[in-house]
Point group: D2
Chain length 320, copies 4
Amino acid sequence: MMKRIGILTSGGDAPGMNAAIRAVARKALHEGLEVYGINYGFAGLVAGDIFKMDLHTVGDKIQRGGTMLYSARYPEFAKEEGQLRGIEQLNKFGIEALVVIGGDGSYHGALRLTEHGYNAIGLPGTIDNDIPYTDFTIGFDTSVNTVVEAIDRLRDTAASHERTFVVEVMGRGAGDIALWAGVAGGAQDIIIPEHEFNVKAIADRLRRSRELGQKHAIIVLAEGVMHADEFAKELSAYGDFQLRATVLGHVVRGGSPTARDRVMASQMGAYAVELLLQGKGGLAVGIQNNKLVSHPMLDLFDAKHQAELSLYDLAQDLSF
Amino acid sequence: MMKRIGILTSGGDAPGMNAAIRAVARKALHEGLEVYGINYGFAGLVAGDIFKMDLHTVGDKIQRGGTMLYSARYPEFAKEEGQLRGIEQLNKFGIEALVVIGGDGSYHGALRLTEHGYNAIGLPGTIDNDIPYTDFTIGFDTSVNTVVEAIDRLRDTAASHERTFVVEVMGRGAGDIALWAGVAGGAQDIIIPEHEFNVKAIADRLRRSRELGQKHAIIVLAEGVMHADEFAKELSAYGDFQLRATVLGHVVRGGSPTARDRVMASQMGAYAVELLLQGKGGLAVGIQNNKLVSHPMLDLFDAKHQAELSLYDLAQDLSF
Amino acid sequence: MMKRIGILTSGGDAPGMNAAIRAVARKALHEGLEVYGINYGFAGLVAGDIFKMDLHTVGDKIQRGGTMLYSARYPEFAKEEGQLRGIEQLNKFGIEALVVIGGDGSYHGALRLTEHGYNAIGLPGTIDNDIPYTDFTIGFDTSVNTVVEAIDRLRDTAASHERTFVVEVMGRGAGDIALWAGVAGGAQDIIIPEHEFNVKAIADRLRRSRELGQKHAIIVLAEGVMHADEFAKELSAYGDFQLRATVLGHVVRGGSPTARDRVMASQMGAYAVELLLQGKGGLAVGIQNNKLVSHPMLDLFDAKHQAELSLYDLAQDLSF
Amino acid sequence: MMKRIGILTSGGDAPGMNAAIRAVARKALHEGLEVYGINYGFAGLVAGDIFKMDLHTVGDKIQRGGTMLYSARYPEFAKEEGQLRGIEQLNKFGIEALVVIGGDGSYHGALRLTEHGYNAIGLPGTIDNDIPYTDFTIGFDTSVNTVVEAIDRLRDTAASHERTFVVEVMGRGAGDIALWAGVAGGAQDIIIPEHEFNVKAIADRLRRSRELGQKHAIIVLAEGVMHADEFAKELSAYGDFQLRATVLGHVVRGGSPTARDRVMASQMGAYAVELLLQGKGGLAVGIQNNKLVSHPMLDLFDAKHQAELSLYDLAQDLSF
């Protein structure tokens, strides 16, 4: 019978990670388990930066952005030597199983530990929404809302000065943040890696829109496509649209998580503990069609997250 | 071939209604239709308070709370006489079909119009999330986030003074807002109409929680159960929990819609126009398992929305 | 030469108290002093709930609502016996002087300690802005902004349904929150304890405003005047204004402080340490005409804070 | 007796401009004047883009960012020819006097009109707070709060990954936004044009702070000093501080104004109308020591706004 589990966060921080940590800890405590927090992801695991968690540790944390367990890159964990040193620490602290919250990069480490006999369950924690086998990742909803709020602000200036703003948003190789924020922000155009685009056509649409009396516009650009400055330069070759380029950088990673992110993170955290209690490991938790699911991590490594491209068409239909 | 459609909002206003209106109008314009806005719901229909909409009418509206078409109660539309007067106006303005955004009460009027030969599609616009055949209604996500933000604020005072707050939230007969906001707000207990509760057991849990060192707590109470004052009084019979009761009233109906509400409202609005173009009417649009769906309005009248009760159990497991 | 100071918060919590605590602690540490936090105000002082603070204690706190030192009522400190027990604790911990953050009620205790030879400086921490010899109190700006945000939300519903909202706001006997939030919220009328009012005249103005085409309105009511329900009842005797009453309760006490509150709290906290270093005590810090000031606490007890009544006249001129 | 006034906004938009426009219009209407809105600043004046305003025009606008009267650059107004064409339009519409809301650049045009016999009063509308003879400008408080909110978000990521963020903020040649936001955001260092700085000393402070256990930091950099990337590069020459540079661009210009900005804008707007009614012109309105003031525009052209440098010292004392 399992008695003691660990939790760590890995990769870029995302709002809702603390809600997930809290849920893992509280669910585990509720089930009579002991819970250990591991600071700085796999680096801290190897270094033995590990501490016992109780109700207070996770009190008043559900609303906080970032991760109370810190995060760090640690490529050394890809090698067996790193893994063995991590396992040494698990043994030292008597930790039998783990929950790993992070991007799919962190799932590799989690799978290795499972193979060594230490069950690990992965939770999708990243603002980018770029993890397969889940419709949404922890942090995505918050990030999209932060971008939309920024677009609302930019629109004030765009409208006052009749400008066109090119807004570059995070998302690494994925266009999900751009897509959702673009539709919600009423963007004239959305440029994402998953869909071809034609700068001249965008310019033509913009010109037509101006002729129809819409004197300002927002264009949302996923960082995975190109830089805002670059895009603005290309676009300005086709006409004077009073362009301004702006980059929403790290601000969209932080902040208090939305209700949706907190609820989903709580559900996933509790579910991960249930899976561990069933003796399972090597699974990635997701939400699909509003239902909690789990898939073998191995399946994720070959798969690719699909952006909701119907939103692209919707945006095209609604802006002209 | 249909050429002209109307839009109206009915029942209580909800954030995202404007995003839905915008989507209906723009999708319709994109399809070459003419669009008419009907002010004040069915009352305005009967009174002929109707105007032509264009791109500008719905410009810069996606981010606005409330409804730009106003809303009003109009029980007279339940009678055939009211309906016939409404149809007179439809004929006068050449409106062949309608989109009706509102609670399921407004679907009755929409169905009557469909039966008279004027296709009407219903969109679920209410913060209460109490409409069957849809997982979410337009406005619900915003409302939950507003409640959660309020809980975050209350927690500051609760923690500083080691108090227990009973927070009454809207939702009419439904507990959805309380459930979601309770989980996201880290509530100690959630009281909803859909689940039995026992005040003594709640008091016991609170006492145990205090003994475990958690000196403050939030209890979320759905208005459909009882008033916060009443509940606080009942609870205080079982111990001194430094109770304070607070009622989050109409503030949770307003405000700029969240990204989720804007996206969903936009999807539903465009979808309603597609259904009308297919010659359909008497259908209620919903979202189920992340997919747009439509159901005959008649089916909704006998059905009852089910709250996501797994959240209730989750909240119980995570707070102790 | 003074070596060790203490800090406590007393009375109702207010946003910005943590920024003040942080400033006192950091300024003191910067000056080479040792700093002790006293939990639960004067109650904790008497109970010896006292701990040493360092840079970490106040790290990442400037943005938090509430008070990290907790607060509690403790009327027993009005008696000499309570004071002597508090002094016992000061001696035990070697604390020579104090900063007391709270309403003017807490200044009495602070003055007693000063008279006993333990210099105490008071900082005005309350959302109510009801402390004399300071233009603003810590927490007031945040509270006003929270109320204004709520009014903005209510306006969405008021406009959609053409209603008049009576919004009751905190402030105890003072009308400052109502005044500032009323002007900033574009209120039709503001009812405060410091200015007479006539319900019939308010009704007449409302009626005239409706005749001029303004179909919705917000009336801001200070809690020190009467309850919103009561006022709505009185007002409705003069006409049907589609009235709704709403009470913004404890939510306006919490939340992350505004920039203004954080800056002012930081200035006052550092200034309090400077005064202690100059060997001063029994002084209340304030801000007047944008300048930090200090006044003998004794002077405050006879004085009365004056609300900025020019805002009342301004509101009357701008709404009609 | 003056009967008709005009309003225009000029230069960069700022939150609160609409509150000022509303106050000018409503105060003027209250005094029995007629009010005309002039779109696009002096460009619109010359072009005759002028319309009559009533209560409805400014209804529901107090909470909106940007300027409902649009803004545009129009250097041609520096020449007499431009001015004469503007005056032609004033005559055509019967406008006898104006309120000009904008940066001090727009005061030159306003003064020229006054000299031609058309009294003009200037209101300080800019986020930069760089106008002399006023402690605060309309939009500054909102902008600072937006920056602080962004810093709070960045701190989540900074803390999770133990990074140092260099945050570049707007302000043109002035450091006010950086100063206020830096103090309110708990910045480790603030770099402004008005104060010398030494990159090596900043690096030393950072290193010492890290040694004291503070593993993350925020450095706020005014755009008037240099670019964030540049600064980060210079700083990184002195050590590895896990630096990330981020630029808060146009987002800090938009958004709903804070209570403070709305109140101040309302006061200034009403005051401007009073001055016009007294037959005055060529005056710039300001707020000094919490009191409304007016100064001859000529005096402003030679003067320079002074940043509140005591905040610089405060920030140094509180961060180490």
